[in-house]
Symmetry: C2
């Protein structure tokens, strides 16, 4: 009998291709979503650059092209705790993949309402799922999408291990007391704060209830399409380029497509971790296929393929498109330059050979930006969220698209 | 002009005497409460042993005996974010003391509804206050009541410092990398989990918004009355003895008063930290009078007077009352025996000379238990919350009261 996986947030940027990937692998997939991502895109006037279909059209098309059924349940896991429990009691999933947190750092810093929404949605939603698993006595493996960003980016050059850090406490008598602790977080936004708080919940439920929990500390996801979303235009994945939900790379591509200089905040010396969307879905499947043993700890896996400095990314895109680069003030409170070394031994041990962000592999994303640039609303590109004491000075330049691949 | 202090949860066991103490010191006190503690006591059929008055009667009496006004605002800070902001905008308090979290570990472990309530109330409530202070640009000093319990009780014999721990990370080349980290928590209940999560919020708002935050990591509070609550019967403080909200010491006193053996869970070798209610209110006032500088860290103070093993407490009460001691299975997942050493240098540095739990000082609490034993519902004494894999085996013995002080 095939295994059942609940994908919370299965209509979103990572959730949708993950749902298709798991369905293609033979899992019974049930998507749970309240369509918050679509609603927020409307609220911000920042729709996906790609013309995404309704969930019904997506699922009907998937059935046509693959022969597989995916169920959809519309549900707010943060607010409808009892409905969520009824669903879990009926489906009794082997695994739950949780993409249903508000995932944009700038959005979480916009104002008090968005701060409150992010805390409420992310903490209550995540806790409701954990609590329902305990209440129903399920043996479900809970897989959560976390972020490398919880650690901040002011490291001391040491490699970031996978979740737990070995430290030594030196006693007053000079004796060495070794301890293994959750790697201390240094969140730079309310969004990152909620992901830090999640870790404590996972640690608690793993230890107290011996729940099987995997937290995938993901890098910044780049790319748009996967093997499955390419199969039909109605399966196309979303592409966000606005100041809240767009990643730095997508922003560069859109700016290039619109004939605008690539705007680099600060010196561009910030080093970040990256992973391609195709590898995100592969990693989630690997995590599901290899659940951790029940034990005292949450299993934390760094879901990262490579690290790059932001200015190197800008240079890569400039080379590819002919765009100029412009350096602006940084609206975030963060280190101007940082190194970043990340252990990703678990995924390598499971056989992942990651896709790397080289010129030729960026081509697909460049192509998406070019293909749909007429749909773009370039007013949405600047980051408008304010970190304390800082103000975004970037203003959009509404010029005609003018780049071609070269 | 006198300073204004908002006391969130100012109708509760610690909040009420704190409000009176601050009012007596000349602060303008505004109590904010949604009376959740009174509602939960009704829900559990476990009213205060002492006959507490309505908030209106309390405040009218206080006005009569002291001449001071205390305002009361009925408000749910977790759910009425906008109302809370309006209140803060109007009052612009110099300090906020936050007692408005659900504070019983057993209650937080009863079932899924109480787990969800505890997470929702404690996290959203605390975050709403922090966020409103930022939104309004206030210079308010935020004082939160935390607990020593977040660290668990499985230490390695080293003294628990005040919040931050110096550790050494040893690099691959053998180099020593010293770091100062938030002392890692090991919460044993959902209640303790929320207090651990609070710390991350405090750390974030201190660092990101340079908010002045003090987190008082309190020991178990004993005693009932303070200088002010003794002034009139209508000012009397609450006394809880039920399995959810009663502390171990109050439970012993009630059992003795009812002619029941004192029930010790496990070996009674659990060591816990204690503080008298009179010192709680003094410590809060000291914290308000000595705000921290705005900086990168939350100021964490261990609000602890002394530590005792549970079986030593039982022997103290047995000596005082003639009661027997009975050893039962422990419903909690915790170490059978533990040492506990706690640094409390900040409060000592501020001049606190704590009241210690010696025979003569227990007398007042014994007196309360005896005076009101006829009001007791002894069915509520056993802990009914289940930690995983454990079940409380204690059953209440409904005998007549039969002890006298000796």
């Amino acid at each position: 009998m095939s295994k059942t996986v609940l994908v919370l947030g299965g209509d979103g940027f990572c959730g949708w291709p993950t749902s298709l990937h798991l369905s293609a692998l033979g899992y019974e997939v049930v998507i749970v979503d309240n369509f918050a991502r679509r609603h927020i895109a409307e609220e911000l006037g920042a729709p996906s650059l790609t013309p995404i279909s309704s969930i019904d059209e997506r699922l009907n098309t998937w059935k046509e092209v693959s022969g597989h059924d995916i169920d959809i349940v519309e549900l707010d896991i943060a607010r409808d705790r009892c409905e969520l429990r009824r669903l879990l009691a009926s489906v009794r999933p082997d695994a739950i993949v949780h993409f249903a947190e508000q995932r944009a750092a700038p959005y979480s810093m916009r104002d008090a309402a968005r701060r409150a929404y992010t805390v409420d949605n992310n903490i209550n939603g995540t806790h409701n799922v954990l609590s329902a698993i305990v209440e129903l006595g399920l043996d479900t493996h809970f897989v959560h999408l976390g972020t490398m960003g919880v650690y901040g980016y002011e490291g001391d050059g040491l490699e970031i291990p996978e979740g737990y850090l070995d430290v030594v406490v030196e006693g007053p008598d000079g004796a060495r007391h070794p301890r293994s602790i959750l790697y201390p977080t240094k969140p730079g936004s309310i969004y990152h704060l909620t992901k830090s708080m999640d870790q404590l919940m996972f640690q608690f439920y793993a230890r107290n209830d011996r729940m099987k929990i995997t937290d995938l500390h993901q890098g910044i996801v780049w790319g748009t399409q996967t093997e499955q979303t390419r199969l039909d235009p109605a399966l196309i994945n979303r592409f966000d380029y606005d100041g809240d939900y767009g990643t730095v790379l997508n922003r560069f591509l859109m700016q290039a497509a619109a004939g605008h200089p690539l705007t680099v905040h600060g010196t561009g010396g910030q080093t970040r971790a990256f992973i391609n969307i195709q590898d995100t879905v592969r990693c989630v499947a690997l995590a599901i296929e290899n659940p951790p043993a029940a034990g005292d700890q949450v299993r934390i896996i760094n879901q990262v393929a490579e690290t790059h400095r932001v200015r190197d990314l800008a240079e890569l895109v400039a080379e590819l498109t002919g765009a100029d680069i412009e350096y602006l003030d940084n609206p975030r409170s963060e280190a101007a330059e940082n190194d970043l070394a990340v252990s990703s031994k678990t995924l390598k041990g499971l056989g992942l050979e990651p896709i790397l962000l080289r010129d030729e592999l960026l081509t697909e994303t460049v192509d998406i930006a070019l293909r749909f640039i007429e749909r773009a609303n370039l007013d949405t590109i600047p980051a408008t969220a304010l970190w304390p004491g800082r103000r975004e000075t970037e203003t959009p330049q509404l010029e005609a698209p003018r780049f071609a691949l070269r």
